[in-house]
Amino acid sequence: MTLTRTFATAGRVLAQIRHDPRTIGLLVVVPSLLIGLVAWIFTDTDVFSGIGPAMIALFPFIVMFLVTSIATLRERRSGTLERLLSMPLGKGDFILGYALAFGLLAVVQTAVAVSFAVWVCGLEISGSIWLLFAVAVADALLGTALGLLASAFARTEFQVVQFMPVLVFPQILLGGIFIPRDQLPAVLEAISEWLPLSYAIDALQAVAADSESTAWVVGKLLVIGAWIVGSIVVGSVTLRRRTP
């Protein structure tokens, strides 16, 4: 693995996206639109102040998962991955290059989504907005990392899209949006303790309500970080230079 090759790969991925303004538009605008829609639905209730923070976790996470998994799968299918792996490109260079490029996009996307939720939809944040932003970015990066991992196990675009219900939906259902996690049946609560999105939602809700210390939130961030690193490592291990 070398820095030059990792940065070259990240730069190349960003150059590809630059040639596709529609994707950029969708990436930046869609999560904000969805958050706006949720706020609108609950206009006359106080529900949005409860689930608004979770929405900041959810939409960028899903969008980044989809975009990343399909982009890397396309690379496998077009033969360019095989070409790169027959060149002196490390597997880590490839995966990290993607993670860097999409991570950068995730930062932009999250900044827009958080700003929109707070200043347009009137989401009240009692804690630090910077901490909220940090958790939201980590969460979008988590979507990227899991997307990289999912694409390693998919052979076709159809399969990779199916991975979303498998990997993402249970995390949403158990993440504490529909019902607080401590009110789940014991088994489901135990499972939710192992899902990374639960940590992101917990942390965002705590920052919004300013109900926990900064150290507690940072603890949650570290767990999310461990999931990101783990997914990237497993994703790069599953890349094979030789294929059947």
Binding site: T4, R5, A8, T9, G11, R12, A15, Q16, H19, D20, S78, G79, T80, E82, R83, L84, L85, S86, M87, P88, L89, R241, R242, T243, P244
Partner: protein, 277 residues
């Protein structure tokens, strides 16, 4: 034992007893052959004969069951070979949503080749007029040339090209073969597959394949002489009828301890590949 040393020293690729299985099919069943350095070797056969699998094995991206493959004196797939061997797949493997130059710049950085290489390969493949265009907007033939240009970056010693001329108009095809010849004159070894038998005559040596086995490993003239025909298509049919392959390969000679079966093979002028870089 001089011949023995000569044969392996002059070979860019030596394959011995290669078995490859894909799914339940035995795609290559005990293949042995050699590709001499600085030559254009044509790998010909109908589709499904195992050409691509053999090329993938030589490049080191194919899982093999058994057998030995030596490329430029190293086991196929060695790390050190990744800058010395270039592979062009049948489908152009370049990025449609980047320009020609952006594609080449990226592959150049991955290879660690000098910056001037991008212009050099654009010139060699005559892609100058379209260098700033997105690859996705180019014709199939132009895309194929971008893929080839990427393979020329870093001046590899061995080029493995899978059907590089498929779908090209005759003028371009002639130009491409002229480029291959120029590269070979510089000391580059080329292994070029095709299912068009006409292209055989442009090669220095032929490997004729059918159903994962070699029908011939010989010079063009050698194949025509053995089969008593004057075109390669007829020779191919004659060899199938005959049921006995025409193997006068340097590998055979090496295995047999160098007694003179390879009389018909050209003695490749010894070139140090480094000189040409």
């Amino acid at each position: 034992m001089m011949n023995n040393a000569d044969a392996s020293g002059g070979a860019a690729v030596v394959v011995r007893g290669l078995h490859v299985r894909r799914g339940r099919n035995e795609v290559l069943d005990g293949l042995s052959l050699a590709v001499p350095r600085g030559r254009i070797v044509g790998l010909l056969g109908p589709s499904g004969s195992g050409k691509t699998t053999l090329m993938r094995a030589i490049v080191g991206v194919q899982v093999i069951r058994s057998g030995e493959i030596e490329v430029l004196g190293l086991p196929a797939g060695s790390t050190a070979l990744r800058t010395r061997v270039a592979y062009v797949t049948q489908q152009p493997s370049v990025y449609d949503d980047l320009t020609v130059r952006q594609n080449l710049r990226y592959f150049r950085r991955v290879l660690g080749a000098p910056a001037s290489d991008v212009e050099r390969v654009i010139g060699r493949t005559e892609l100058g007029p379209v260098a700033e265009r997105l690859v996705g907007t180019l014709s199939g033939g132009q895309r194929g040339r971008v893929s080839l240009a990427a393979a020329l970056l870093g001046s590899p010693e061995l080029l493995v090209l899978d059907e590089p001329t498929v779908g090209l108009d005759p003028v371009l095809r002639v130009e491409l073969w002229a480029l291959f010849r120029a590269l070979a004159d510089d000391g580059v070894t080329l292994l070029v597959s095709s299912h068009v038998m006409d292209e055989a005559k442009r090669c220095d040596r032929l490997l004729l394949m059918r159903d994962g086995e070699l029908l011939a490993d010989d010079t063009v003239d050698g194949v025509l002489e053995v089969t008593g025909t004057d075109d390669v298509e007829a020779a191919f049919l004659r060899l199938i009828e005959r049921g006995e392959p025409d193997l006068r390969s340097p590998a055979e000679a090496a295995d047999a301890g160098g007694h003179g079966r390879h009389a018909a093979s050209p003695a490749p002028a010894e070139r140090a590949p480094e000189e040409s870089r």
